[in-house]
Chain length 328, copies 2
């Protein structure tokens, strides 16, 4: 197990039993009769990743004194939705490696990756219809619509070098933070009622998720692919202009702007992240983006402070900080 | 309006009010805030097609004396699921035209088509969570899993020229007939109970849907693309060996088998359906497949006869026959 995982395990210790049950349920959920499908679900189980979203369902449940027998199941359904989005994201990005494991679209092909993602979404919704309350189905169906619409908006906003920061955040938030928000809302509300604390926790999840996405966007332009365990420079290749670049572009000379656009748009260019670092100093952009992520996490910390002190609350505080420190 | 549509309108006259409500709900369901998404949903509304599956929800409801205010909504959700599968199918098939309208993957690109399909699935599940009963969510989530698993199985069975007919039918059925089966089950059961009549109508829908798919597979090898309003020869291009070809292959000489395989597998070959018709007489295979489709429809007719006589029952009888006659 790699160090980040063991650090994370430590963080989520207060809900360890729940996390283990979540993982057991998830393994079951990935089990299927069809051999062709089973081969694939066994493969993607290998990039199960940090399972932060599932852990948040359990931590928020405990921190808001709202635990139920079904929380681990809700957590596993949130993770299934996340897995489905990952599989389709890899198709969309033409990615080759995720967590040092070949992506489904590489190991099989894009067609099958589309189908597997569809299958995982359907499986997640199917599981949610078996729960005693409909809240999980409702929240996750709404969230999934939002995620997909945001990804379409993002695709429609390629090469928008002058996109306002609000729009960047709205899209990045809907794309990524909305599932964090849903996880926290479900943790606080499932199986029913508790709208006020649900809304509060939803915003908390949004802030943490948006910070997470901003860090991700920074890593895509500056990280070393070897260290993060997946391809970098995808956003540039794909025409996604993210916060660190938007910031640099804002104050760049016309000449530098032209060179930045070239790195994004020139046909057949290789290693675009490296090229971008050659044409401009990205450091101030990354600093600016990190400061924004820090601001979001500070907001989350404030909300957390309104909850009664508990090991789960402490874990969430650490988790919020951990999002800022992640380098992979 | 083209002749097939007016013929169909006549067939579904007993549930015309419901169909109109279904269409109104569907238009609403396709309305979204995001401009990028709205552009696309407006586009796909143009290939809304025959809406057979939605009509079946309403017809079976009426024929089994199980009508509710929510039946049109259930019907529109079934159609949304169908639209989602169409959008993803077009990505998978690399199709260019559907109902004489450019496919989403052509008008935009594959990435966006994947996202739009995801959005439509999520929208469908989202709508189903708003209904008074969970039955629709349950049945459709189960059905969607089945459809996706079957498509994966189909992809894993490419170029299987000696596939047993049972396996062909299991895959073709799960891929296509299961949504017909779900539509009929929901028509008979929604909002609750009525398991026996539900199971009976489910089988009825399965038979009609499988017949529909068999006809579709025949059209793909023998039809004229101009007449059917979409590309033909896709199955061959994609390595899907369907019933008419399986039948010919079964009794073909080794030499002919080799030539058939060549048409499927030779790199860069153009117009494979035409090529296939050049190397062998497909007529006996198509006759065999049509006879099987007829047998399935006969089974469906028998089941229908167990229902009390009504305009809706008559409409379904006509509809079952119509499936056999369709040439587009």
């Amino acid at each position: 197990m790699s160090p980040p995982d063991s650090k994370l395990l430590e963080l989520i210790a207060p809900v360890q039993d729940g996390v283990e049950r979540m993982r057991a349920v998830l393994s079951e959920d990935l089990g299927v009769e069809s051999k062709a499908v089973a081969d694939m679900t066994a493969h993607i189980a290998r990039f199960r990743g940090k399972q932060l979203r599932g852990a948040l369902v359990l931590l928020v449940g405990q921190a808001t004194e709202n635990t139920s027998d079904e929380h681990p199941e809700v957590a596993s359904i949130v993770e299934l939705i996340h897995l489905a989005t990952l599989v389709h994201d890899d198709v969309l990005d033409g990615a080759k490696v995720r967590r040092r494991v070949a992506c489904v679209n590489q190991r099989w092909d894009n067609q099958v990756a589309v189908l597997l993602g569809d299958f995982l979404y359907a499986r997640a919704f199917g599981r949610s219809t078996q729960l005693s309350s409909r809240l999980c189905s409702e929240v996750l169906a709404r969230t999934t619509q939002r995620i997909c619409a945001a990804e379409i908006d993002q695709a429609a906003s390629r090469y928008e070098f002058e996109m306002p920061q609000e729009r960047y955040e709205a899209i990045a938030g809907a794309k990524t933070a909305s599932l964090y928000a849903a996880a926290c809302e479900l943790g606080a509300r499932y199986p029913e009622g508790r709208e006020d604390i649900g809304a509060e926790m939803r915003r908390l999840g949004w802030d943490i998720g948006l910070a997470f996405q901003i860090i991700d966007d920074c890593l895509d332009v500056v990280a070393d692919g070897e260290v993060v365990g997946k391809d970098v420079g995808n956003d540039i290749q794909d025409g996604k202009v993210t916060l660190p670049v938007l910031h640099i572009y804002r104050s760049a000379s016309e000449e530098l702007r032209g060179r930045i656009r070239d790195v994004y748009m020139q046909q057949g260019l290789d290693k675009r992240a490296e090229r971008l670092r050659e044409v401009c100093d990205l450091e101030p952009g990354v600093e600016y983006a990190l400061a924004r992520a820090r601001e979001l996490v500070d907001g989350a910390m404030l909300r957390l402070r309104s909850l009664p002190a508990s090991p789960a609350r402490t874990a969430m505080e650490n988790l919020a900080q951990y999002v800022l420190q992640r380098r992979w």
